[in-house]
Amino acid sequence: MTDNSDNILVRAQGVDKVFKRGSEEIHVLGGLDLEIPRGEFLALMGPSGSGKSTLLNLVGGLDRPSEGVVEVGGKRIDKLSERKLAAWRARHVGLVFQFYNLMPVLSALKNVELPLLLTRLSKAERKKRANVALDIVGLAHRAGHYPRQLSGGEQQRTGIARAIVTDPTLLLCDEPTGDLDRKSGDEILDLLQALNQEQGKTIIMVTHDIHAAERATRTLYLNKGRLSTEPVD
């Protein structure tokens, strides 16, 4: 049991999340429990508004639960201050967004280098690591291109390179193929799968696409703030 417990990277216990809209309270997550072992590639599915992205934000330290505990790598993150949480994210979390969220004024290389500005690395070392990350995603030849000069798939690969450049503990992907055609989407999924299988990255991916979810090692379904292993109609 102990071994199994140590192997758990993400643990959420009794997590509630309530949003307030005026006087109305919207319960997005209610009493949610979740454990994700290291090295897992977890797909989170569910209808719109079911709380998938909210759960991803809580695990990634982008938001705090209204109730409950969120631990990542044995560290409780739900009580951290804004500043500490920002530093924790920079160190432990890689984020991949549906719409890539690249800086339009920066080249692919500079975009990938961005999270490294939050480290003590030298300029030369930052550049070297950013080039390695771009190489991993197969975009070394596009390093000097700006986002507007890249296709959607290339932009998302740049986004993934940015997410992995700091060698984070956890890779969080919010609809990473949601804005891409099937072919580009498959390339992104190939890449995520390779990162999981070859480099042992723990990945949580929110998706609407059953085809994408099939690449994951486990799929969980969220409905009305509750998790299940089976899809709910």
Binding site: L62, D63, R89, N101, P104, L106
Partner: protein
Amino acid sequence: MFNWFSQVISVIGFSIRSIPQRKGSSIAALLGIAGVVAVMVGVLSIAQGIARTMESSAGGDNAVVLRSGSDTEMMSGLGGDEARIIGEAPGIARDDSGTLASPELFVIINLPMRTTGTDANVPLRGVLSQAPKIRNDFKIVDGRMFEWGLNEVIVGSGATEQFTGLEIGSSIEVGQEQWPVVGIFEAGGGVAESEIWVDASVLQSAYRRGNSYQSVYAKLTAPAAFDEFRDNLTSDPRLNVKAMRETDYYAAQSEMVYNLITGLGTLIAVIMGLGAIFGALNTMYTAVSARTREIATLRALGFHSGPVIISVLSESLLLACMGGLIGAALAWLAFDGFRTATLNWSSFSAITFSFDVNFSLLLQGIVFALVIGLVGGLFPAVRAARQPVAHALREL
């Protein structure tokens, strides 16, 4: 803290490099601020110009003597004997022709202004032969000096620019007589350049003033000689006069109009500045709104809110600074050295002066622009930094 500065520099870099994506609203804010600064510097340069003209008039070692109780030459009156006693007081410098003291008369005549064609008051000063030696840098620049004893006049360069009928060869009407203009003079940019000069004895008889004057201008042996000069005059039982340093006299003369224009200029600048602040606020809220994704992404990646605030403020300050520089340059190009005339309320006569856009005014204008930029950027910056990251990412 170790990477705080690199964060700040990077985030400011994105901010500034992304300005071209919002060039419409950025240019509008920039031009708004430029306009405010140009108007502010322009109006304040009027006050500076008047003050400079007054300062140029005054020599540090010059004194003016008026009848006790009068603040201006218009209100003063001195008998010929009094003027003679004053002219021989200790402390006054001498040359071969005697003491450098000039009893003078001061009357006002009406002449049409070149710009509007309407009549305005022009000072007509009766002087003695020592008067040019007492003024700063007096020189005849065209024509010649009037002949002593004749009803000829010479005209200051400022007066001839601002009023019609003061060219060499034309004449001014005094009573029933026509007095020909025979020369144009300069006096180091001072008040005298707004005046018409004539022999004091000619003016005395034309205005039936007998042997009286209104003031005595004197050049002292040194600025330090003033106290002795003044004490001597005020303790003399034959005299009922007051002596002032010429610098103090002109400072008092220009004070009212200087304060009025400075006050008005500041008021206009503040009102326009408020408008520009709203312009800057609007621009920066738009900028923050357009950059919501960028800012939220940076913060999601782990960038702190401090650098985000500084980046928004930097963008606002950069736009304001550019606006300020453009406005200051416009004001300098449009106004500096522009000559015009206004009423000197102390003498009720026109004073010719040049707008003076000096370095200190330009600096004031740029600082004012930066204040507009700071206030206009602060609220949007705080908003950008306070927006919850998850919420901001969801809004995309």
